[in-house]
Structure formats: structure tokens, C-alpha cells
Amino acid sequence: MIVWLTRHLQTLVGSLGDLSRNSFSSVLSISVIGIALALPGAMFATLENIHKFTAEFEHGAKISLFLSPDISIKQAKDLQQSLAQHPDIKYIEMITPDQAMEEFKLRSGLKDALNSLSDNPLPVVLLAYPEDRVARSPEKLAGLINELGKLEPVELSQFDLEWIKRLTAFLELATRAVWVIAIILGLGVFLVIGNTIRLAIVNRQEEIRIIKLIGGTDAFVRRSFLYSGMLQGLFGGLLALLVIFLLFSFISKPASSLSSLYSISFGLDPLQLLPSLILTSSGALLGWLSARVTVGVYLRQFEPGKGRY
């Protein structure tokens, strides 16, 4: 066990040494990997932030129910109480015609004109705040709006934040697109690492042949390449994290001033701990896998009996 561990440690240190010796080409390939991983990483982080951003709105999403003019405040109150029991509704608020008129006067600047009206033409309005799980799902929300609109005293049921529905649907699409991009770039990383490993194998063919001549197993030869692939992927992943972090700190200021325009508190987050770990470890895993495949394909070409030996 100790021998096994020492051997692995030796190889790991050896691979690190190789990486630093061939510093230019390894920096180059690590940068390529870093950028290739940073792109989908940053996109996922952006989507995550947009989700958070819309969640702030969804929190205040409400359905306005305009009741028929002939419904009295008493009847409206009854309706309010019965709707409060609805499982999809968090709570419900009532705006009487008087309140609405007051607000209208204040906001519209038509105070004098409105004062001249003999009676209040505004209907009673109930504001239904849906549960978060309903607000997040466009279908459920549409169902609820429809259901409330069919109620006897309701003349019009209207969702104020129609655009959120559209945005949510768009986000769904964008997430899929980012996945496709991530898979394509992941394949790119796989090929980049495979190519550097292939070059390393060609550069070290003399060494590989000698190691095989003195009794080195395929596994022994493979090991250092697997480590170097894994390390390249790992460093590429860490570089990607750095790039995402820099990118987000670069745009965090305009983003927070934008969100303050919407009067919501919203700070831009770079990747959280778990996605960061996933990003770096998927880099390392990609590197390992790519090295494994490349070594499997090329190693047999450097048997001592083949080539010029």
C-alpha cells in the first residue's frame, strides 16, 4: 500500500515537473482549456443570476381580478375570504373603488378632473398573490389566471407580469442552448488535451521504449500521461474559475445599478462553491478521460520491437 502510494505520488510530482519543464506549451494548452471551460461556466452563472433576478419579480407577481361594477364591497370581501383558502394563492388583497380613486388621483395628475365626477366608476379589485411554485411555472400560472377569470363576480382576470412568463420560457431555451455549447466545448477540451498528450507521447517515445525494455508495464507508462492529462484539465478548470470571477467583477457594477433601477436589491454572484467544484472536477475528469483514450490509441505504436529498434 505504501509502495503503491509512493509510486503514485512520484508520478504526480513527476508529471508536475514535466508540465513546468514544457512550460510554454502547457501554459498554452491550459489557457485553451481554461477559456473553453470558462465560456459555458460563465453562461451558466449568468443564467443562474437571471433566474435569481426574475425570482425577485416572481415574489411580487400578482393577478389582478377586476370585479363587475354591481358587486358590493361586502360580496367582494366574501370572495376574498373564500379565495384565501385556495391552495395556489398565498394571500389576497382588496382595493376598494375609493382607494383606487385616491391612488389614481395621486398618480395620474388628473385630480381636478376626477373630483368633478359625480360617482366613482371604478370597480372593486382583488389582488391575488400566487404561491411561488405557481409563479415559477407558466402553465400553472395560466391555469390559475383562467380559473379565476371564470368566477362569477370576476369580469377580468389579468396577470401583471406577462413578460416574466416569456422570460422564463426564454431561460428554459437558453439553458438548453448553453448545455449544447458546454458539450461541444467539452469535446473541444477533450481533443485539446488528447493532442497535447499525443505530442508528449511522441516526444517521449525513446523514454517509453526504454521503460518497456527494462520491464515497465503499460500501466506504469500510462500513469504519468494520465496524471498530466488530469493536471492540465484541473489547472484549466481553475483558470476558467478565475476568468469567470474577473468577468463578473468587471460587470458587477453596471449590473447592480441596473437592478437598482428596478428597485430590487440584487447582487451579481459569480459561481457558488458547488458549481465551482463541479467545473474544476469536470475539467480534471475530462483531462483524465482524454489522456486515457489517447494513450490507449498511441502507446502500442511504441513497443520496443516496432519502429527503428
Binding site: 509502495v3 525494455l213 527494462i214 520491464g215 515497465g216 506504469f220
Partner: protein
């Protein structure tokens, strides 16, 4: 016996027939020279012993193992029983002398605690103990070959195989190298050396096998020096 060839032929894929119907036996503890002009098949014969090549027909038995039946993945373990010395040394020039000699031990998973002692013993044997941290490129040809020999014996193999080990060395240095082989043989290692330098055969008085155009023409017995 340690090495047994019976009716062994080797034809390379491009059609060249390097060995034809070769039969001989080398006993445990023997030191045997393999001679012949260049292209006679000396190297091919050694490559069959070390499983760098497979015989086209016939049977090769080394250390009790029929090489034709050895599975590919067991070849590394087979090679660990053999020390190999090459004309061009085949050292790794980015590693120190110490690391070059330690390589067979590292490759076979030798315990790190005893590694230094074993490497130093091998380097001491070839007289290069004080050069252990040098890079091979800074050493002379004779010294590099001695590093190669130290690497070949560090695993304490039962068989030492050398292909023209003194091909690039002057006669004084050649004598030193052959004396080293002789000394290992004295300590019980079976030695098979391919050389075209007949002087050493006379000097050391060992048995020799001669190849001409891939056929074994002559098997002289050891003449006492």
C-alpha cells in the same frame, strides 16, 4: 539450462530472413559470446531472447518459459529477469545517473527505502559512485556504458544480455567492460554477449557461438586462457 533455441527461424515482415534453423543451449551460470559479421543475425537472436521480437518458427525457452506462449501483459515481468546492455547505452539524458540506474527498480515497484542502497551498490560496482548526480551527457562513452551496465544489474537479474557493448569504445575501455561482465558471471549471472571483437573471446577463454548469414556455423567449447 537457461536459454534453449530449437530450430528457430526469424523472418522480418519485409521478407529478410535473419535467422535460419538455429539450435543451441546456454546453461545456467555460463558466459557465452555470440559472434559473426554485421548482419549475420546477432542482434536478432538477442531480440528473440528479450522478447523484443517473436520467432517465426521454432521454440525459444528462457528461464523455463516458452516465449511463444507468453501473454503480452506478462512480458514486462519476464523482462525484469533479464539485464540488457545496448551498444548505444539507451540512457535517459534528462535524468541523473542515479535516476537512470534506479529506473528498473522504480518500474518494478521496489520499496523506496532500499532503493538508494541498491543503486549505490550497482554504481559502486561499475566505479561510478561519485558520479551519481551527474547527467549522463557529461560522462565519457565508456562511463555512459558503465551506467548502462549498472542499470542492467541493479535488479540482480539471472541473465545479462549485451549487444555489441563495446562497439564504440577503444580497446582499453573495452577490456574494462568485458572484465565487468566476467566478474558478474563469476558471481553466478549467466551472460550472453554479442560482439565482433574476437580478442575478448581469446582473452577470457569462454565458449562462443558463431552466426553466418543467419545460420549457426560453429559452437566452440571454452578454451582455458
Amino acid at each position: 539450462m537457461l536459454i534453449e533455441f530449437s530450430k528457430v527461424s526469424k523472418r522480418y515482415p519485409e521478407g529478410h530472413e535473419a535467422l535460419r534453423d538455429v539450435t543451441f543451449v546456454i546453461n545456467k551460470g555460463e558466459m557465452v559470446f555470440l559472434t559473426g559479421h554485421s548482419g549475420a543475425g546477432k542482434s536478432t537472436l538477442l531480440r528473440l531472447v528479450t522478447l523484443i521480437e517473436h520467432a517465426t518458427s521454432g521454440q525459444v525457452i528462457v528461464n523455463g518459459q516458452n516465449l511463444g506462449r507468453l501473454k503480452r501483459r506478462t512480458i514486462p515481468y519476464f523482462r525484469r529477469q533479464i539485464g540488457m546492455v545496448f551498444q548505444d547505452h539507451k540512457l535517459l539524458y534528462n535524468l541523473s545517473v542515479f535516476d537512470n540506474v534506479a529506473l528498473p527498480l522504480i518500474v518494478s515497484g521496489f520499496h523506496p527505502r532500499d532503493l538508494r542502497r541498491r543503486v549505490h551498490a550497482a554504481l559502486d560496482k561499475v566505479g561510478l559512485l561519485n558520479h551519481d548526480q551527474a547527467k549522463p551527457i557529461t560522462l565519457s562513452g565508456g562511463e555512459q556504458q558503465r551506467v548502462g551496465i549498472a542499470r542492467a544489474v541493479v535488479n540482480r537479474p539471472s541473465l545479462l544480455v549485451a549487444d555489441e557493448p563495446t562497439g564504440n569504445l577503444d580497446s582499453g575501455l573495452s577490456d574494462e567492460i568485458f572484465d565487468l561482465f566476467h566478474d558478474f558471471n563469476y558471481h553466478g549471472v549467466t551472460v550472453l554477449v554479442a560482439t565482433h571483437d574476437l580478442r575478448h573471446i581469446k582473452r577470457l577463454g569462454k565458449r562462443s557461438l558463431t552466426l553466418v548469414d543467419g545460420r549457426m556455423t560453429q559452437q566452440t567449447n571454452a578454451a582455458q586462457p
